[in-house]
């Protein structure tokens, strides 16, 4: 079997259709210095997922989406309340909130384990290798469900971001000024967190919570190092996601490892290469200016 077969197309396409919406919301998470909030939400939605799964018996359905999204927002709300009302530091509020929500989800899973096909491994690492097996028939063509869902997710997030671009930009850069001109920063904050929750929920089954988080944070972080334009930051983080998906799949194929793990490793490698490359570039440039001074 060659890795450039249909499996490759479907698996990498489904990963990409998660990576792109993740990068889109991730750029604003990183700029708001809220990467850890993304981490918290991606874990905290677990009880919502379990409850919804219990009632609807399927991973990806509307009740599932709503259930998990509302737990995601609840998590955001609790963190804000502990932080603002209780005067607990933000990082401590995040730590307190998502660990117990995640733990609750894990306990719920172990209680339901007998009759429910949902386990911790799946939640954390996903099962992207099985993506091509679970298909839907669309206009007579058999398309993996993950690809269909991913297309929906990508369209939804891209649309929200295009329509709300100025709102996200302004409330991220200068929330005080935004309030002064009558824009609700609370609305934009919860909208973004709602988007993070949705991305997480729709993605975790195929790629798992860890890779979701990697996609949310690493590509925007790499792009942030490389550019000082918001639009190029968005484009660059999509490019880095794309490269990681393709190289990650190839790597997993060659060494016969987990696809999610390989993609996450490539993301980390990309970050390291860019980071070290930039440091070397800086040193070389400094040396070049020194040489030109001494001449």
């Amino acid at each position: 079997m060659d890795f450039l077969d249909l499996n490759f197309v479907w698996i990498s396409l489904s990963a990409l259709l998660i990576a792109i919406p993740c990068s889109l919301v991730g750029v604003f998470l990183v700029l708001r210095k809220m990467a850890m909030l993304g981490d918290a939400i991606s874990h905290a939605v677990l009880p919502g997922i379990v409850i919804a799964y219990y009632f609807s018996d399927s991973y990806q359905s509307i009740p599932m989406l709503l259930g998990a999204a509302s737990v995601g927002l609840l998590c955001t709300y609790l963190i804000e309340t502990f932080n603002k009302v209780g005067r607990l530091q933000e990082d401590a509020s995040i730590g307190v909130t998502y660990t117990w929500l995640f733990a609750l989800g894990v306990v719920m899973i172990s209680f339901m384990n007998d009759n429910v096909d949902l386990d911790q491994d799946c939640v954390l690492y996903g099962e992207i290798a099985y993506v091509p097996l679970d298909t839907l028939s669309i206009f007579g063509a058999l398309i993996p469900r993950a690809v269909v869902n991913g297309s929906f997710l990508t369209t939804l997030i891209a649309l929200l971001l295009i329509v709300g671009f100025k709102g996200f930009k302004l409330t991220t850069f200068d929330p005080v000024y935004a309030t002064a001109i009558g824009i609700s920063i609370t609305f934009w904050h919860y909208l973004l967190m709602g988007m993070v929750s949705t991305v997480t929920i729709l993605s975790f089954e195929s790629i798992g919570a860890i890779l979701v988080l990697a996609f949310l944070v690493i590509p925007p972080a790499i792009a942030y190092l490389l550019t000082n334009r918001l639009m190029s930051m968005i484009y660059l983080s999509m490019v880095f996601s794309l490269v990681a998906v393709i190289l990650g799949y190839i790597l997993a194929y060659k060494i016969n490892s987990s696809i999610s793990g390989a993609i996450a490793s490539i993301l980390a490698l990309e970050f390291l290469v860019v980071f070290i490359g930039l440091q070397i570039f800086k040193i070389l440039r400094r040396r070049a200016t020194k040489v030109s001074y001494s001449n």
Binding site: G164, K166, T172, Y177, T179, I181, I183, N228, R229
Partner: protein
């Protein structure tokens, strides 16, 4: 009849964590003036501006702008936050930031068109920043960042401007050109309120003064309230400032006398 008042603050009390930082502040500000807000660090000057802008909710009392509730007149009011209030590493250019000033009038969902860009460029030019339009904001000096903030406020084309320390970190030449701009805006009928720290220039810059130290010590024409007694009350027993003040007031007096001689 009394001149129309542009800001009315009625018995404002504002606190953080139940600790009041503004106490029973009550004043009316006539329209069309350049007003200075002075007081020591921590006096509540920024808090006062934020409360006037509705960013902070007062424990008691209320604010009227143009005789209306804030929400009805928000578009006509522009606010310049203290420069340190934002992260200047944000990936945006000077022009991007100035364009944000247009969101107040246009809303968040209308496209920015060519005329908007030209208007934003004009505002940058007013502050001598046109050559920096594409510069990333972290690569601007503190004074240049301050001017970008002012240009954004200008772009909003408001009638009332509330500015929190627009002269902080700005060199003397720039300060002069900014104050000239503010005078020009005043002559165009705008009202401007400026939090200011340099007591040396108070008399020269402002028509009206709000002197704040948790309580409102004085609100009135600069010529009437900029006195040793009220300054002492505003700045408490802070020796260095008081001796500095004595010096300034003496100079003023000498200036006035010489003026009378001529």
């Amino acid at each position: 009849m009394e001149k129309e008042s542009i800001i009315e603050a009625h018995d404002l009390t504002v606190s953080y964590d139940k600790k009041p930082v503004l106490w029973d502040v009550d004043f009316k500000l006539p329209a069309g003036l350049l007003t200075g807000v002075i007081g020591p660090n921590g006096a509540g000057k920024s808090t006062l501006l934020k409360t006037l802008m509705g960013i902070l909710k007062p424990d008691s009392g209320y604010v009227k702008l143009f005789g209306n509730k804030l929400d009805e007149v928000r578009k006509k009011v522009s606010y310049v936050p203290q420069r340190e209030s934002v992260d200047w590493d944000f990936p945006a250019s000077a022009l991007d930031v100035v364009l944000m000033g247009l969101y107040a009038q246009k809303g968040l969902f209308k496209r920015i068109n060519k005329a908007d860009r030209e208007w934003a460029m004009y505002c940058l030019e007013q502050l001598g920043m046109q050559d920096y339009k594409n510069r990333q904001i972290s690569q601007l000096s503190g004074g240049q960042q301050q001017r970008v903030f002012l240009a954004r406020s200008l772009a909003q084309n408001a009638s009332l401007y509330l500015m929190d320390e627009p002269f902080a970190g700005v060199d003397a030449t720039t300060e002069k050109s900014i104050i000239d701009l503010l005078q020009k805006m005043k002559n165009d009928g705008k009202s401007i309120v400026v939090v200011h720290h340099d007591l040396q220039s108070v008399n020269e810059y402002f028509d009206w003064l709000l002197m704040v130290n948790t309580r409102l010590v004085a609100s009135g024409p600069t010529s009437e309230v900029f006195t040793q007694e009220l300054l002492e009350e505003t700045y408490g027993g802070k020796l260095s400032i008081l001796s500095q003040m004595a010096h300034i007031l003496k100079n003023l007096e000498i200036g006035r006398k010489e003026h009378e001689k001529i």
